[in-house]
Amino acid sequence: MDTVACIKRVPDTGAKLTLTDDEQHIDTSHLGFTISPHEECAIEEAIQVADDHDGTATVLSLGPADAEEQLRTGLAMTADEATLLETDGKEWRPRETAAALADALSGDSGTDPEFDLCLFGNESADVANHQVGVRVAERLDLPFVAGVTGLTIDDGTVVVERDVTGGTEVYELDLPAAVGVKEGLNQPRYASMRAKMQARKQSIERQDPVASEFEGRIEKVRLEAPESTEGAAEVLGEGPDAVPAVVDLLRDDLEVI
């Protein structure tokens, strides 16, 4: 049973975000790049399911040539194959992205998906549109559940769970299916050094995605960096002298005692 995890190259940011002068992007000139924790879980799940059911796990990304780095992370985690829908670096909107991914996922047939389970991170770590997974599923006519924190394959179906207030929802989807998974679904593995080295030598399939034209575009006006929360700790005192202040804080401010 074949799986695919769709991932996105995003800036690895600290507590404070710096924007480019035109306020259109995060300033990444001194930052590294990563994938979101949700997507790490998606890769892990894709690998485990493929391993358990004699299939192939693929990592797929749409992004600039440098997104190869994130695909190699997936390969180093022992995904079998990687495909990059290589863009020229300009930002793609969720609808365009979803259309291109759906095209790639349905392969030569143009309609039938070439996998049994497609995993997305619940939302991307940078823009968090929450759209790509469900749009891909819609285009490929697949069942889709987001917010997944539990997943079991069961005889041609996939049973997924998601947490809701006061309980857990359980869905059973016919395969092929698509899911949006959340951090906590599993414990993503650290790549071994040997796997990481081998991943660097593995070939990555590159495709040129077509940017579809859609009516009714959403225009990004500008980004605003969130107010940075002052992280500086307040020192209440040192040694036994500090105890009354700590007690006051716990009792009066936090009301935990």
Binding site: H30, F33, E69, Y190, S192, R194, S228
Partner: protein, 844 residues
Amino acid sequence: MSSNTLPAEAKTVIIGGGIVGNSLAYHLARMGREDIAIVDKGPLPDPGGSTGHASNFLMPVEHSKEMTHLTQRSIEQYKDMDTFNNSGGIEVARTDDRVEELKRRVQSAKAWGEPAELLTPEEVEDLVPYVNTDLIKAGFYSTGAGTCDPLRAGEVMRARADEYTNGGLHVSPNTEVLDLHVENGSIQAVETDRGTVTADEVVIAAGLWSPKIAEMAGVDIPLTPAVHQMVSVGPISFFEDYEGEISFPVVRDMDTQMYERQHGNDLEVGSYQHRPILWDVEDIPSIDEAPLSPTQPPLTDDAFEQSMADALEIVPELLDDPEAGIRHEIDGLLSQTPDGGPLLGPLQDVDGLWSCAAVWIKEAPAIGEAVAQWMTRGWSDIDLHGADVNRFYEYGNSRSFVKDRASEGFQKIYDIVHPAEQYQSARELRTSPFYEKQADLDAEFYEAAGWERPQWYESNSDLLDRYEDELAELQRPNEWDSRWWSPIILAEHLHTREHVSMIGDMGFSIFDFRGSDVVDYLERMAVGRVDVDVGKTVYTPILAENGGFVSDLTIARLGPEHYRVITGSAAGGSDRAWFGDHIPDDADVMMIDRSESLCTLGVWGPNARDMVDSVTEEDMSHDAFEPYTAQKITVGEVDAWAMRLSYIGEQGWEIYAPMGQGRRLWDVLWEAGQDHNVRPAGMGVYGTTGRLEKGYRLFGHELELDYNPAEAGLTFHGVKDADFIGKEAYAEAIDEENTATLCTLSVDDHAPEGGEHRFMLGNEPVLDQNGDVLVDDEGRRSYVTSAGTGPSVGKHLLMAYLPQSHAEEGQSLQVEYMGQQYPVTVEVAGSRPLFDPENDRIRS
């Protein structure tokens, strides 16, 4: 301790709360500074600099005595703070060349007094069972090595500093320095985002941010952030049976320039083999912007590829543990300087501003201590001259120079570096007016403090035939011994002693002093009496208060209120700082740096007088121009000034001329020399062969803070009436019997076991007949301070301080070189020249 407060004033402000700043605070407090503030823009205990991501192991043995002693002293301090794990460390060799290098490591370990031994691959396996011994030929075992916890040590040192100061230590984290206030050349205050602190003295201990801070005061600290790649792999099941942080020696896989060290259940794999990746300090993100820390940017994957392959080869069992993965991977940023050494000492253009930068975890506690000694009493127990920040003064501070040298130097970190190895980048920075002429004569240029100086001339290779017989036994068949060397040096030497040579430019640092208080001032600086007749020259030690050497140099009196001080190129920056710093505020003394305005050309040899006299307007006869005097002369059309003295012990002059007239000076003398069999000769003759035959001492080799003038044999001045720095200690040293004496030795047999003749290069331990290293009553070990061949005496010569009991002419001793012991004999105890002991040639 008042933490998180910023005082309005403090005696000493330390910028940087990493291991270096904490160590400084502790030692300054211990030495009596009562009012100290530490500011750092980051939080504590880990403010986000290199201290927070270092691999924290200490391998004490290096080829540098200074660095070895600093690491040994740091280990003592970490032990004292209960933050040291004595794991031991093993450097493994994959190649034959490295095996030789490891023998040299053992040699250095013996010289500097640190236990170490060579191991067979099997012995390595016994100590570190996970190393793939199929790959290795030998190991170098440093039993004293280990790991430390610098963050914990920092906390201990802050607490101790607070105790010593009775609460006078102010620690102010999360406080960013915005500016340094300087008035009338003195530091006044440190301005931060939380207020301004006025201060008497400020130390920049800000690691790789130090250049940025220094710039606020208009001065330079030449370093660049450089990447050291490091990953952590775990959990490794093999380590689960062992308690604690580290149970196995740290492994340095030298030929791949990598290390592997246990850290709990993880294995840290670090590399210096990747291409140099330098950062601009302005590009380093702030603490808030950085996902991990400002100095831990993400790993550059492609640069680490070969490192992974090599690591998997040397410790496959650990890294192929099925449960283990790469849990942490960084491009760790550290400070890289143009020559790899730390940058310590007073920043001479701003009084009260100090640098304590480019310091590794392994040296930090000892460097904090030594710099604190320097700040509080003027000298340090461990001589820091090699690490003086002023060594790059006014030539080696440009961004381009620093980056070029740092890139080149990064690749030397685990490499086999020959002691005479030259940098290839950023060359031809300082050239004398003779440079083009010398290049035409196929000079082989070596560099000193940026100056290009001919070491020898390939155009003199015909002299090898001329002196074939004399040189027969002095040729060096071994590649290592003859690397960065040429027998032409010896031939140039013999030619000089027989005829005449032109040597220069030496790249001297030249300072003129003028003013009505200049005599008093210089008397206070120098051991020798300087209130001499105009036209006299004085060769004199310059001492610290403890009687140790700060420098040795020549002072010439040019006029009643005008002196010229001439010192070596390498010592120029620190000497300038020392002299400048000691001019009293109210004294009428002006210091003028002439180093870049005067060139120097030596003309020496039996034919020197005839040659020079043929083109000077003045009478150069012995009576008209006596030895050890100086005069203005006119050489052809060139207005020059000459001193009749010689570092190689020959008749002749050091001729000084304005740089602009230097080329003409060369041409006139070269032309005149054609009738006198003149040759150009290089610094190989000047700095080594001629010098050693004459027993002349070299600063940084024979002369350093560890030994006093009596031991160095430089007490010919006696004790003058006038006060001078170090007088008390100097007088005491003369009165007391020496504990050690500097001697000249010669090698009796270059192949005692047969085979290739080997020639020592310096820094080898001196042993008694039983093979034990000689140690004097003050615990100082005997080692070769300078080594070089004396062609006129037909011997390979060594200088070494020997314990008094062994400092006797005719004593038979041994020197260990590359794992082999060689018989040597003490030729001279003291400063008497081996060649021409009565100095008849200089006086001729």
